[in-house]
């Protein structure tokens, strides 16, 4: 969807799905069977009772990154829409090319 869809919004959704898939993959890797969230409880310090906190921390960072990139992409789409009146990339390219040729003649 990121590559093939010509609609900007769909592209952004595709990118988000891609990112979410990778995050879920990471989270699953950190899961320990029967583990609880890694906050020390009842004085138990044995690591095997808790899930691995590192992937969760990574995913948290990753989410921040993907949120900001999405925000950027949406702002860009808005600008494009204001300029060309469409969110379809093919149409935008067509309009831009026409403008250029019109300008040269």
């Amino acid at each position: 969807m990121l590559l093939l869809s010509r609609n900007m919004i769909k592209k952004i959704i595709g990118m988000n799905i891609l990112d979410s898939a990778v995050y879920l993959f990471l989270i699953v890797q950190g899961y320990v069977q029967g583990g609880v969230e890694p906050i020390i409880r009842d004085g138990i310090t044995d690591a095997s009772y808790y899930v691995n906190p590192v992937p969760s921390a990574l995913v948290l960072t990753g989410i921040v990154v993907s949120v900001s990139v999405t925000a950027f992409a949406l702002a860009l789409t808005q600008r494009l829409y204001k300029k060309y009146g469409t969110v379809n990339i093919d149409e935008m390219t067509y309009i831009a090319r026409n403008e250029k040729n019109g300008g040269q003649k």
Partner: protein, 496 residues
């Protein structure tokens, strides 16, 4: 107690980031501009000092950031190579901004100008972090920051089709980011580490035991392809000519000269410090790199010949030069890596210089069409002279930096006994000459050139001194390439 200079990398990164936060708060645009340039200069000088402190004993150190020790905490790692690259990046950044200043003033809306400098700071900080970091997840985060910064500097000029170029860049870049992140996730799954040193050790063990061969291969492959796209290697290069032809000239210089190079340095670090070059070699990735590199060397040049837009031509030439760098890495020998790193520096200096010179020529002739620039030689002799020096350096004429670089590549490929690379090198050099020389010859000796008014549009010294400094550096490094080569060689010893 740490020696004081151990703090330089971290303070470099933090200082630049702090400036990025401060710059939108400062009201005066002029102050922001001066402060940013000053910051690049100071950062470059400190990196250079660090290089020469570390050089005599070829020292390299690991600096832990935060309160946790290595396997959990974050680390920076710095040696001669990293410090010198940081210095080169800082100075090229500084000179590109200064050289493109006039275009920046014309191209940027007043409201945006401040944010432009903010984004330059962010970009520079992220490149420094990519160079220095010893943790692959930190590298990923800064790769993303770098990408967003790059989008901004491309679209900052709100004329032409910069938005469309940004969309194109965005799609390719985000796909690449996804691949890099997946690669890191796979790597973490099979090793349980994110720190480069620990990854290196456990990958070595894993590879020797033969376990998890497939995930390792997938991870290395994804990382390679992701960085291919980000650094505009030939089949994935289409965003670079688009983005750098329509962006303002300082952005084009930084995009083509530095941003792609940051990713290549990350690739080198991933190969030598994480996967281990022997692993990469036996997975067959280096052979792939050589093949793609050769295709890029020829393909980039061929597409440059077809261009009629001066900035697009320079950008396509970048694509071909990036092919050279990949061939050097793909040889996987010390000589090959030396040639690649040397070429990174050559290309960063020369391409940045060419883009700001082209920017100057374009803004004074108000056309980007090469066919309409036939009278440029006599009109602005000094500017054109510097352009010719750069072009000669790119083609590889002796006494200039580019020649030494080609010499290194030839030596490296003879050393590894690979004839195909030498043939590709010769063909690509000829093609380089094919697309650089006709515009220059037409620019100086055509009929329009003879009729044109002498010195009519020559920019004053105040405007072109950054171009002159870069050109002088190209000549100087060309004359004293022995010292530069031995410096890089010393720095790269840490990688083997």
């Amino acid at each position: 107690m740490l020696p004081w200079y151990y703090n330089i990398p971290l303070f470099n990164i933090l200082g630049v980031l702090a400036m990025a936060i401060l710059s939108p708060l400062i009201k005066e645009r002029k102050t922001v501009r001066y402060l940013t340039c000053l910051l690049f200069a100071v950062s470059g000088i400190f990196s250079l000092i660090l290089t020469f402190i570390l050089l005599p004993e070829n020292e390299s150190f690991v600096y832990s950031v935060g309160f946790f020790p290595a396997p959990w905490g974050n680390e920076l790692r710095c040696g001669v190579f990293e410090a010198f690259m940081a210095a080169v990046f800082a100075f090229v950044m500084l000179l590109s901004v200064l050289g493109g200043m006039k275009d920046l003033k014309i191209d940027l809306e007043k409201k945006i100008a401040q944010y432009y400098y903010m984004m330059l700071d962010v970009l520079f900080a992220s490149m420094l972090a990519i160079i220095f970091t010893n943790d692959i997840f930190t590298a990923y985060v800064f790769v993303e920051i770098n990408t967003v910064g790059a989008f901004f500097i491309v679209m900052a000029k709100e004329k032409d089709d910069t938005y469309l170029a940004t969309v194109h860049y965005f799609v390719m870049s985000m796909l690449a980011s996804g691949l890099i992140l997946l690669s890191i996730a796979v790597l973490y799954t099979i090793t349980g580490h994110l720190n480069m040193q620990y990854l290196f050790d456990s990958i070595k063990l894993l590879y020797a035991s033969g376990a998890y061969r497939l995930p390792l291969m997938v991870s290395a492959g994804l990382m390679t392809v992701g960085l291919f796209v980000k650094s505009a290697l030939f089949p994935f290069h289409s965003w670079l000519p688009k983005a750098s032809s329509s962006a303002t000239s300082a952005s084009s210089a930084i995009l083509s000269g530095l941003i792609t190079k940051g990713y290549i340095i990350l690739l080198i670090k991933m190969y030598y410090r994480v996967y281990g070059i022997d692993t990469i070699k036996s997975l067959g990735i280096t052979a792939l790199l050589v093949i793609f590199g050769i295709i890029a060397m020829i393909g980039g040049s061929l597409s440059a010949i077809r261009q009629t837009d001066i900035k697009k031509m320079i950008a396509c030439s970048s694509v071909s030069q990036i092919g050279y760098i990949y061939v050097g890495i793909g040889l996987a020998t010390p000589l090959g890596l030396l040639a690649a790193v040397y070429h990174i520096i050559v290309h960063a200096l020369t391409k940045a210089d060419m883009f700001i010179i082209a920017g100057n020529i374009v803004s004074r002739s108000s056309t980007r069409d090469l066919r309409a620039l036939n009278d440029v030689g006599p009109r602005m002799p000094v500017t054109m002279g510097m352009f010719i020096v750069c072009a000669l350096s790119m083609v590889g004429i002796p006494l200039l930096m580019g020649f030494n670089s080609k010499w290194n590549f030839a030596a490296a490929s003879i050393d590894s006994g690979n004839i195909a690379i030498i043939i590709a090198l010769v063909v690509s050099t000829l093609l380089n000459a094919f697309y650089y020389f006709p515009p220059i010859i037409r620019g100086c000796f055509s009929k329009q050139a003879r009729d044109a008014k002498r010195w009519a549009d020559q920019a004053p010294l105040a405007e072109i001194w950054p171009h002159a400094v870069l050109t002088a550096l190209i000549v100087l490094f060309g004359l004293f390439s022995g010292q530069l080569t031995s410096l890089i060689q010393t720095g790269l010893m840490n990688f083997f």
